[in-house]
């Protein structure tokens, strides 16, 4: 039995409505409890800001495309090198670091739970292998269903239960956590060198539209009672004027779940563009934020762009091809058989570039204009908008108008006429930042009942203590102190163990992988469905029995069982 007591913590715990109360946190055997014995080890937090461990609801840290980002950017591996030290492995890489690099850097920032944003089912093993070597965070993965042939055929045939059944079988087979749609239909069209321009274009060869895919999968997701909602990367990413497509997609979503949103719209910054081309490109964050304000069924994340070098990677193959034609840089493209595809290119976002400056502004605007912080979460879609190590700077920008103005003065001078950012006075407070970086993320992922994102008794003892006395720091002025504090916790506690202290990771943790197993009736068990088996044997390059990820890929895991309505 191990016991730990954190004394005098200044706790902000939005899921329990606690806002800056000084209290003690008792931990026994990795869980938060009401009280511990006198024998407990004591950490004196000395009134420092104490939050539940950070949750990143959308990041790309593990899996084939991340690894391919490493392959194709050896120059990125030359940045951010750290030597082996104590229990720590050597790390390297800046925008796509090694798995240990990701894990240590996240841990030092107080993050304890990560969701890998896109896992191609056929290549799930690689993701799980890398999860094993991301030791300081609990992990889970979204599974890509955007171009799944079986699903698109079921949608064409109007069989929603079959859609749900295929999702259930696949999630269980690949040990996935939630459903991800990336440019639904478009990535499949890209296998034929085409794309879809928005939600009403039919997907070649399948005669279904993205709108039908989105709606059917959202409904199927609820039939399966999955913890997380559908995680959508809208069609038409990154093109001027695409905000209408985004609004159209968000407008498809009914409110189907009382506990959480029905749709998680990811990296909305990339989908909030106005104008008819790059010449009159502008921000349309306002209509998007107003739209989301009126719809509790939608949660989005920022997809903030920060200046500097990074690597973009997404299952949205056609979009990456367009980006490649813009930048004339390296480009990788990948087709995942009957399921999805991907593209990767390195990019540099530049302050002197007008389009990049507008993109930078839009992410911040989305966060500042959306009324409820529960509906706009803080992410960069790491590493697409920026590597996650930029989160502290984003927190600084959201909390300080002064910092925003100072940064604004350094970007392209024409930006001011294209974006509303300079006129926005709002400065987020500590509570709102806590929502956007942990409580809101945990709730959106459906993890609060599984002990994430809060510090109530029974919760996993994931705690981040930042070296900040919030009564003494005015974030709107002392934004540097805020950035420094969020870059380096005083303590990061993962499942009751101190894993990082003042920027140093101390132990090699043992993480857990969360995955979902929806229970479906015998009739809807796709593993016994003759049509499904035949399709598999005919088109896949692997046999069906070789397809599921075996148990040995999950050393510690938490299987979430759900009772499906099919």
């Amino acid at each position: 039995m191990s016991e730990l007591l954190i004394r005098n913590a200044c706790v902000i715990d939005p899921l329990r409505g606690i806002n800056a109360e000084t209290m003690d946190i008792a931990i026994r055997d990795g869980r938060i409890v009401e009280e511990v014995s006198d024998a407990a080890e004591v950490i004196d937090a000395r009134g420092m800001l104490t939050l539940p461990g950070g949750v990143d609801s959308h990041t790309h840290i593990c899996g084939t495309k991340v690894n391919f980002g490493r392959y194709m950017s050896p120059e990125d591996m030359r940045a951010g090198r750290t030597p082996r030290r104590g229990p720590l492995h050597a790390t390297s890489g800046y925008s796509v670091p090694t798995t240990y690099g990701n894990s240590y850097r996240y841990s030092v920032m107080g993050y304890t739970t990560l969701l890998e944003g896109a896992m191609a089912p056929l290549e799930a093993r690689h993701t799980h292998e890398e999860f094993l070597y991301t030791p300081l965070q609990d992990t889970m993965a979204n599974v890509l269903f955007d171009g799944n042939w079986g699903i698109m055929e079921a949608i064409r045939d109007g069989d929603k239960k079959r859609v749900a059944a295929i999702i259930a079988w696949t999630l269980k087979a690949v040990k996935g956590f939630a459903v991800k749609l990336t440019n639904p239909g478009g990535t499949e069209a890209w296998q034929w060198g085409k794309n879809v321009s928005c939600i009403r274009d039919p997907v070649p060869h399948f005669e279904v539209t993205p709108a039908e895919i989105i709606r059917s999968i959202v409904e199927a997701n609820e039939l399966l009672h999955l913890p997380h909602s559908v995680h959508l990367h809208c069609n038409n990413l990154g093109t001027p004027g695409n905000y209408t497509c985004t609004l159209g997609s968000l407008g498809l979503i009914p409110d189907l779940n009382k506990k959480r949103q029905t749709l998680y719209a990811t990296h909305v910054q990339f989908h909030a563009y106005g104008g008819s081309g790059w010449k009159d490109f502008c921000s349309k964050s306002e209509p998007i934020a107003r739209f989301v304000d009126m719809r509790p069924q939608i949660v989005m994340d920022m997809g903030q762009v920060m200046f500097g070098r990074t690597t973009t990677m997404t299952a949205d193959g056609p979009m990456e091809f367009n980006l490649y034609r813009l930048h004339h840089e390296k480009w990788s493209n990948h087709d995942v058989e009957l399921e999805t595809g991907s593209g990767i290119i390195p990019v540099i976002y530049r302050r002197k570039n007008l389009v990049n400056s507008i993109m930078w502004a839009i992410g911040l605007e989305l966060a500042l204009l959306t009324k409820s912080p529960w509906q706009c979460l803080l992410t960069t879609d790491n590493p697409n908008g920026a590597p996650f190590v930029k989160y502290p700077e984003i927190i600084g920008l959201l909390m300080s108008k002064k910092y925003r103005d100072a940064e604004f003065a350094t970007i392209h001078p024409d930006t001011a006429s294209r974006v509303p950012l300079p006129a926005i006075e709002r400065e987020l407070d500590w509570y709102e930042i806590a929502v956007m970086t942990r409580a809101g993320q945990a709730r959106a992922l459906g993890l609060q009942d599984l002990g994430k994102g809060h510090l109530g008794p029974g919760a996993d003892a994931d705690v981040a203590i930042y070296p900040l006395l919030i009564d003494e720091v005015d974030p709107s002025v002392d934004y540097r102190k805020v950035i420094d504090a969020f870059s380096r916790t005083e303590y990061t506690i993962k499942r009751g163990r101190v894993v990082a202290r003042r920027g140093e990771c101390l132990v090699d943790g043992s993480n857990a992988t969360f995955w979902v197993r929806p229970k479906v009736s015998e009739v809807y068990d796709m593993g016994k469905d003759p049509d499904f088996i035949e399709k598999f044997d005919r088109y896949y390059t692997v046999r069906m029995r070789n397809y599921p990820v075996q148990a040995e890929y999950l050393n510690r895991n938490r299987c979430i069982e759900t009772e499906a309505e099919i």
């Binding site: 194709m72 050896p74 120059e75 030359r78 004339h328 390296k330």
Partner: protein, 255 residues
């Protein structure tokens, strides 16, 4: 100050020695330096017979002379910013990496990546230089950005790859793809080479011999006089909207 480092015969080994500490400025504080051989760290005097004549208080006044079987010494002169290194024999890979000042003179041959990503200073190589002389590193966007590399023998493949500034002069032939991904600077090859300037976007590349396997993505412009030679000027690489200048005395396309 003159520091003489003579490789001890006992130090002979097939394992290369990582000697990034051999830089003139480091000797201002004495010769108490370390080098790695494989996974073991050695004091400098375990590998070399070290002798010091005179003293100096700025790196410009330091000369380091290396002798013996130095062809397995890697990274000599890395981040060098002044002074002089004279190598009486051959030198191993990555000599003069990231160098920004001073002079390195190699009397023998140099292995790969001589003067890689060099920013200033001078490298003289009396023998041949192997592949990737004055180039960038794997995937890097910029090779040499300043300074001069002069090779009196031949150069290997990918000479001055991704070069963005500075001058590279090769008196003999060069291998395949000299000046690939060139952005700026000047590359002069006195002998022949193959496929010069591939994907170049800027800078000037002069080939005083024959460009074999000449790339079809260069556009012939005119004939010019250059230092008493008649050269044919091309622009390109138009496949990548580049505006580089390629001057060749003679060229052959592939059949």
């Amino acid at each position: 100050m003159k520091v003489t480092l003579a490789m001890k015969p006992g130090a002979r080994s097939f394992i290369p020695i990582e000697a990034e500490s051999i830089v003139p400025k480091n000797f201002l504080a004495g010769t108490d330096l370390l080098v790695w051989r494989g996974n073991r760290e050695f004091r400098l005097d375990e590998v070399f017979a070290v002798s010091v004549e005179g003293d100096a208080d700025r790196s410009e006044d330091v000369e380091v002379v290396l002798s013996g079987e130095t062809f397995r010494l890697k990274r000599v002169g890395e981040y060098m910013d002044g002074g002089r290194i004279t190598i009486l024999g051959d030198i191993g890979m990555h000599c003069g990496n990231f160098m920004s000042g001073g002079t390195i003179e190699v009397h023998g041959n140099a292995d790969g990546w001589l003067g890689r990503e060099m920013a200033g200073g001078t490298i003289l190589c009396r023998g041949d230089a192997a592949d990737y002389c004055a180039s960038g590193y794997r995937g890097g966007r910029k090779g040499m950005t300043g300074g001069t590399v002069e090779v009196f023998g031949r150069a290997g493949d990918f000479l001055a790859e991704s070069i963005a500034g500075g001058t590279v002069i090769v008196h003999g032939d060069a291998g395949d793809m000299p000046g690939a991904e060139m952005h700026g600077g000047t590359l002069i090859v006195h002998g022949d080479c193959r496929r010069p300037g591939a994907n170049m976007k800027g800078g000037s590349c002069y080939v005083y011999g024959t460009a074999q396997g000449m790339l079809p993505t260069f556009k012939k412009i005119e004939t010019v006089q250059h230092e008493g030679r008649t050269l044919i000027r091309f622009t390109g690489d138009i496949a990548n909207r580049g505006k580089g200048n390629l001057f060749v005395k003679d060229y052959e396309y592939l059949d």
